[in-house]
């Protein structure tokens, strides 16, 4: 008899649970505002959830983009870059024009590799291993060691090692902005810049700055701010805490003032169209 009572009471619990789920299913706003739009955008996206755009998946990216459409041109969706008609539909859906060129990110190496070797290194041929050994065999502890970790990581073989200078060289045409190399470099030398940028800053100054009395190679930035002063179109913004110049590619007219005035020639032209790799 008691068992029957127990069965009935447990059944009552089951009923309450079902009711709870049902009420929550009804009460919670079924339609998140703008969910329809998010669905629409999500259908356009490749749906690979690869995460290259830095979001937790295509739907999360669609959610963010539907909130502020300008994001579409900053985040890279490598799959999307290929087909233009999807980008057109996305532009209609978002009501904003997507600048595919700046959306198409490129990897930039912040080092010209002119600091000389302290000792010749014959250990494990990988930058990670070499950088563990007292920060690498170059005079500057944050210079590019040129042992090819990024080269091995790059799926589109856009990175090769320049023989005499011993640093990585990035072929901007092949580079698809997948950012796989960024994580591989132990010295954080590579970061992704917009495909539109015109001037490249070839020194890993922001990392070295923390080390007092650091050694500089003759191409290292002396943080003299001449480029900042010289730029007439104020396309250069001086990043205070990192004490490095940052370039606003929209305002830059490629007048070349900053590149000419830089005493240690740390600045270079980046625009692949003008000079593929002007050293």
């Amino acid at each position: 008899m008691q068992l029957v009572a127990a069965i009935l009471l447990v059944a009552l619990i089951g009923l309450l649970c079902g009711l709870a789920i049902y009420i929550v299913y009804i009460r919670v706003p079924h339609k998140v505002p703008g969910l329809g739009k998010i669905d629409e955008i999500n259908k356009l996206l490749p749906g690979m959830n690869c995460g290259a755009c830095g979001y937790a998946g295509c739907f999360a990216f669609a959610q963010e983009v539907s909130r502020n459409p300008q994001l579409a041109s900053q985040a890279t969706c490598p799959m999307l870059l290929g087909n233009d008609e999807v980008i057109k539909q996305l532009e209609i859906a978002l009501g904003v024009s997507i600048d595919t060129e700046s959306m198409n990110k490129k990897a930039m190496l912040h080092c010209k590799g002119s600091s000389e070797n302290l000792f010749d290194y014959s250990g494990v041929q990988s930058c990670k291993a070499a950088s563990l050994l007292a920060g690498g065999f170059k005079r500057c502890p944050y210079a590019c060691l040129g042992l090819g970790d990024c080269m091995r990581a790059c799926k589109y073989d856009a990175i090769s090692i320049d023989g005499d200078k011993g640093i990585a060289v990035i072929d901007y045409v092949k580079c698809t902005g997948c950012a796989l190399c960024v994580r591989e470099c132990p010295q954080n030398l590579i970061n992704m810049v917009s495909g539109r940028s015109k001037v490249s800053y070839r020194c890993n100054y922001s990392e070295i700055r923390v080390i007092p009395g650091r050694e500089r190679c003759n191409n290292g930035c002396t943080h003299c701010r001449k480029c900042f002063v010289a730029c007439k179109y104020d396309a250069i913004i001086w990043n205070k805490e990192k004490a490095v110049p940052e370039f606003d590619s929209a305002k830059c007219t490629l007048c070349g003032e900053c590149v000419a005035v830089c005493p240690t020639r740390t600045l270079e032209y980046f625009q692949p169209a003008i000079s593929p790799y002007a050293v």
């Binding site: 089951g14 649970c17 079902g18 789920i21 049902y22 299913y25």
Partner: protein, 204 residues
């Protein structure tokens, strides 16, 4: 017939629940300190997995989608409690050694995982194949782990009270690390790396 066999084989090696899907680890680590426990547990898991897959496959068209997980889990819990009651009544030795891990088969991720991911979406016969494949895959994996852990951990390997073989040196000084939880993680990690090296399972 081919499709049925393909599902069966998939569970065994290709998507082995423990090494590939990394599901059902809780009992796999806790119970593999002796071969008898491992076999007892896998018998119970296969039985419950089979029954639950069959029942889930049968009712998959009637169950309403928002309550499907509670319904599946109640079915699994019923089977498990029945198994643990029968074990307690008729096989007390095994019941003693399985201890808390018998009721925890309910939360063994393989069973609900397969019920949710597979049985609720495929025909009955395929669900049976999947249940058998996954069950045997689970057994295969935890038997291998149990053999290694018991031999190293207690110096001898015994199957239902008669000793298969024992290492005199190891018996005096067994590596009791392998009987600890940490040892179990170690064994699974190294085994998985070895399988990947051999190419049995593809790298990440």
């Amino acid at each position: 017939m081919g499709k049925w066999f393909k599902e069966f084989i998939k569970g065994l090696v290709l998507s082995n629940p423990i090494f590939v899907l990394a599901l059902g680890l809780c009992p796999a680590l806790a119970v593999t300190n002796s071969l008898d426990n491992a076999l007892g547990m896998s018998a119970a898991v296969i039985f419950v997995l089979l029954c639950s897959n069959v029942l889930v496959a049968l009712i998959r068209t009637w169950v309403a989608s928002i309550v499907r997980i509670p319904v599946f889990i109640v079915i699994i819990a019923t089977f498990v409690t029945m198994v643990s009651l029968t074990f307690e009544a008729y096989m007390p030795v095994l019941y003693e050694s399985l201890g808390i891990y018998l009721p925890l088969i309910v939360v063994n991720c393989i069973i609900l995982g397969r019920a949710e991911a597979f049985a609720s979406r495929n025909r009955l016969s395929l669900s049976v194949a999947d249940a058998l494949g996954m069950g045997l895959g689970f057994t295969l994996a935890i038997v291998i782990i149990a053999v290694i852990r018991e031999t190293l951990g207690s110096g001898s390997l015994s199957l239902f009270e008669h000793v298969l073989f024992s290492f005199p040196v190891l018996e005096q000084q067994p590596v009791s690390l392998f009987l600890l939880p940490a040892g179990a993680f170690l064994v699974i990690g190294l085994l998985l790396a070895a399988f990947r090296r051999v190419g049995l399972i593809k790298n990440e």
